[in-house]
Symmetry: C2
Subunit: 208 residues, 2 copies
DNA sequence: TCGTGTATTTACCAAATGGTAAAATAAATA
DNA sequence: TATTTATTTTACCATTTGGTAAATACACGA
């Protein structure tokens, strides 16, 4: 038995790799839609095209799937922030960060909704990861932005709230897609324009 | 039997009024935390201090509680936008709108998370209400903002995306409170500053 | 092709969950 | 006070759900 969380696994076979990926992809679909409590193993099994006992052959249980999924996505989710470069031009760096976050929301809406849902219901699973990986990175990048402002290369404002507003505005397009779709039902140029608008918004705030 | 959805109800007694409110308040707590699928009648019953059969004496079922709750909150939720006044000073009006939304997020975080969760998982219940009540209001207020911009009283930008960014940035403080709390764990002036930051952000965008 | 470990299915379980029927209790009214 | 009506409890039920045991089918190297 593979038994996911056991460390000293030999070599995951092709079938194992394929099925674990199938399960995690199905779980992403289901967990991002219904949350941990609302999701069922039967849903995940159906989505993955496997039987329920079969997915329990690859994972120790519902929680194991969930935790594995969150872990697997967190690094990718933090990448855009990690790429904020102290050596670059401040405004360009921030606008590029906004664009990267927007691209991620557009390209990985399910991942965005998965995280959003987790945090919405209290981050019970995410909290350890947020503290371990996210918090230090957040602190460091806020300090960087503060430096840019102190040296007059960026209009002064609260770096923390700046970050919050960048996440909020970009992830909004993934997390609230259902609402946006309803509101823009008849509008012609639906979906586009976000990138230009956000550039305008944050340029207006940060340009010296 | 009261039987919630039945229209020709006589007069709700004091007990009925009190218990229905208790149940809806408990449901707000539970649904906002776990979503419709994740919430259970037992949780709601425990939170309300009533037995499960007893809450089913006041409501037709889980879905009835949920729908009643969404309906009861929607008007309140739309009020800040409704108050956008064509006769006021444009920038002042918008900044006041931002402040009202921020106040609502701070004062009613459970309501904010309830709606956020609903939309996150596809707005299956909300969609009709959004189309009926929200969409026309949204359209009207976007047109108003567009007028302000066309007459040069506001810096031109996309009104729809402006609205999206106002909702995103303000509701973020309710919907992602768990994350903010973790990230600001050590910071001293936690929680405050949002109002000033958002005023700066949207002033920078909209000032002519 | 044979055997051995891998993968999958079948048949279950116990607990949780949404919901009901009817008895018992409390309020209101005649 | 008697009696009717509104409310609450007790005892259930059928389905769903997370999970398991054991039997079966499959892959793959010797």
């Amino acid at each position: 038995m593979p038994d996911s969380s056991s460390q000293p696994a030999k070599k995951p076979s092709r079938i194992q790799l394929r099925n674990r990926k199938r399960i995690l992809d199905a779980a992403l679909e289901v967990f991002s839609r219904d949350g941990f409590r609302g999701a069922t193993l039967d849903q995940i099994a159906a989505e993955a095209g496997l039987s329920k006992p079969n997915i329990l052959y690859y994972f120790d249980g519902k929680e194991d799937i969930h935790v594995t999924l969150l872990n697997a996505q967190l690094d990718t989710w933090l990448d855009p922030m990690l790429a904020l470069d102290a050596k670059g031009d401040p405004l360009t760096e921030i606008l590029a960060y906004v664009q990267r976050k927007l691209d991620m929301a557009r390209q990985f809406p399910r991942e965005s909704r998965l995280f959003a849902g987790e945090i919405l219901r209290g981050a019970s699973f995410m909290a350890p990861y947020l503290r371990r990986d996210f918090q230090p990175l957040f602190e460091a990048k806020c300090a960087l932005v503060q430096d840019w402002m102190d040296s007059g290369r960026l209009q002064a404002c609260d770096p923390q709230h700046l970050m919050f507003s960048i996440w909020a505005t970009t992830q909004h397009y993934a997390d609230f897609a259902a609402q946006i779709e309803i509101l823009q039902a008849d509008k012609p140029k639906a979906g586009s324009g976000a990138s230009a608008y956000l550039r305008q918004l944050f340029t207006g705030l940060l340009k010296v």
